[in-house]
């Protein structure tokens, strides 16, 4: 356990020293959402209708931005090789790295999302479902992304490949994330959709470490 936490602490420290990632993700999130009123027009009714979708789609893309670096830097400087040979199983290390990634990128997204929803005139009834959905959904995004990041290691144009691999897998999170907000606004309650998001998260926590660790071992051969 202490090795697990050491790895989380080291990734957080690297993220804070290098700055970049979290700030970039948030800036991208904010800028992209702000583009929509310019693109589709500022009518509150229209924006209100598409607010949930815009916030979720943009959050997916923002989360994708920082994924390329998840294993890449460690792969390039030889750290990944050394990590793979530690007593702590690589599967646990994948979880630790995903946790650090989520703390650096997912958590800020959750904090900023309600502010952007305000900008888009989201119905006030939808806010609890938005926040709960993001709390359950963004860790899944980091986890699924880890498989793509591991598979695209060493590939030229890894970033593009990563998007192609990961975006289709993000669709269920997007569907249930948006559905939770709409159901809450329509008065049906967000509970079923949130439970499905939670189920996706549990699945991802259970399966992703094995898939990503296998891909990393392949990259290290």
């Amino acid at each position: 356990m202490s090795a697990f936490l050491s790895l989380v602490a080291r990734d957080l420290r690297l993220a804070f020293r290098q700055g970049g990632d979290a700030a970039m993700v948030i800036a991208f999130f904010v800028l992209t959402v702000v583009l929509f009123p310019f693109g589709v027009g500022p009518e509150p009714e229209l924006l209100q209708r598409i607010a949930a979708g815009i916030v979720w789609v943009t959050a997916l893309l923002a989360a994708l931005l920082s994924l390329e670096r998840l294993f890449q830097a460690d792969y390039e400087d030889g750290s990944l090789e050394a990590l793979a040979l530690l007593p702590l199983p690589l599967e646990a290390q994948v979880l630790a790295k995903c946790l650090a990634h989520w703390l650096v990128t997912g958590l800020p997204l959750i904090i900023v999302a309600p502010l952007l929803a305000l900008l888009l005139h989201l119905d006030p009834a939808g806010y609890p479902a938005l926040i709960a959905g993001m709390v359950l959904g963004t860790p899944t995004l980091s986890l699924i992304g880890a498989i793509g990041a591991a598979l695209s290691l060493g590939a030229r144009r890894g970033g593009v490949l990563l998007s192609l691999l990961v975006l289709p897998l993000y669709i269920p999170v997007l569907i249930f994330g948006v559905a939770a907000i709409e159901a809450e606004i329509a008065g049906f309650g967000a509970r079923p959709d949130l439970l499905l998001l939670a189920a996706l998260l549990v699945l991802a926590v259970g399966l992703v470490p094995f898939a990503a660790a296998a891909a990393l071992r392949l990259a290290l051969e």
Partner: protein, 236 residues
């Protein structure tokens, strides 16, 4: 003047079985690099891998570490195949490859402390584990210096300091003398001798002549497939 190596930091090892490889073969891409390779590494033993570039020295070390799958043969620790318990095998080895596994923004002390902690080194004060290691390799005054300011030789020393900061029975060192000056090389040899005296084992590859007592020299060129073998394999 370098400080005395604190013997207490090097743990002694008591396992008696040999680390052995039999009939090992390795393939990189389409090409068979070596085959029919046997070695025995007893407690306190040293294996020096020599051979021209591309003869498979690094590949053999990666094979021993379990990073690269072997094409054929067995690799056993005290008679048990290392694949049966990969976790136990990882716990007893240190592999120092070509890259130093250092982050430009972490200081030398932070980097070493991280690797020591990841190997379960939980002294009440992690400093007690890493300070002697840093001092021994002449990095005492670089503790708080970010790694991006370290020279190639200093980075190499810092990578090697992991050997002292966390104990492991089997050291696999890929060209450890690269970019080291003669003082640092001598310090490394002292550590290796001390490690072996405690029952530890080391396998290393080198191009420079290296002065290790009672080391087994393994010339990888002897295990290269002959042209007829390669041709037969292509046809098969």
């Amino acid at each position: 003047m370098s400080p005395a190596l604190p013997l207490s930091t090097l743990q002694s090892f008591s396992s008696l079985g040999d680390f052995t490889g039999q009939g090992l073969a390795c393939r990189r891409g389409e090409k068979l690099i070596f085959r029919g390779l046997d070695f025995t590494l007893p407690p306190g033993g040293a294996l020096v891998l020599i051979g021209p570039n591309g003869s498979g020295k690094s590949s053999l070390l990666r094979l021993m570490a379990g990073l690269t799958p072997r094409e054929a043969g067995t690799l056993a620790w005290d008679g048990t195949d290392i694949r049966e318990d990969p976790g136990a095998h990882r716990a007893r080895l240190h592999f120092i490859g070509h890259s130093d596994a250092l982050k430009p923004v972490l200081s030398a002390g932070e980097s070493l402390a991280f690797w020591a902690k990841m190997r379960g080194q939980v002294f009440g004060n992690i400093g007690a584990a890493i300070e002697p290691a840093l001092a021994w390799f002449g990095l005492g005054n670089a503790v708080s210096l970010p790694c991006r300011y370290l020279s190639a030789g200093q980075r190499r020393r810092l990578a090697l300091a992991r050997l002292i900061a966390a104990p492991a029975e089997l050291w696999l060192l890929d060209e450890p003398l690269t970019s080291l000056d003669s003082d640092a090389a001598a310090q490394l040899l002292t550590v290796i001798a001390e490690h072996r005296a405690q029952g530890g084992r080391v396998a290393l590859s080198t191009h420079a002549p290296i002065d290790l007592t009672d080391a087994t020299r393994l010339s990888l060129a002897d295990f290269r497939p002959s042209p007829t073998e390669s041709a037969a394999e292509l046809l098969a």
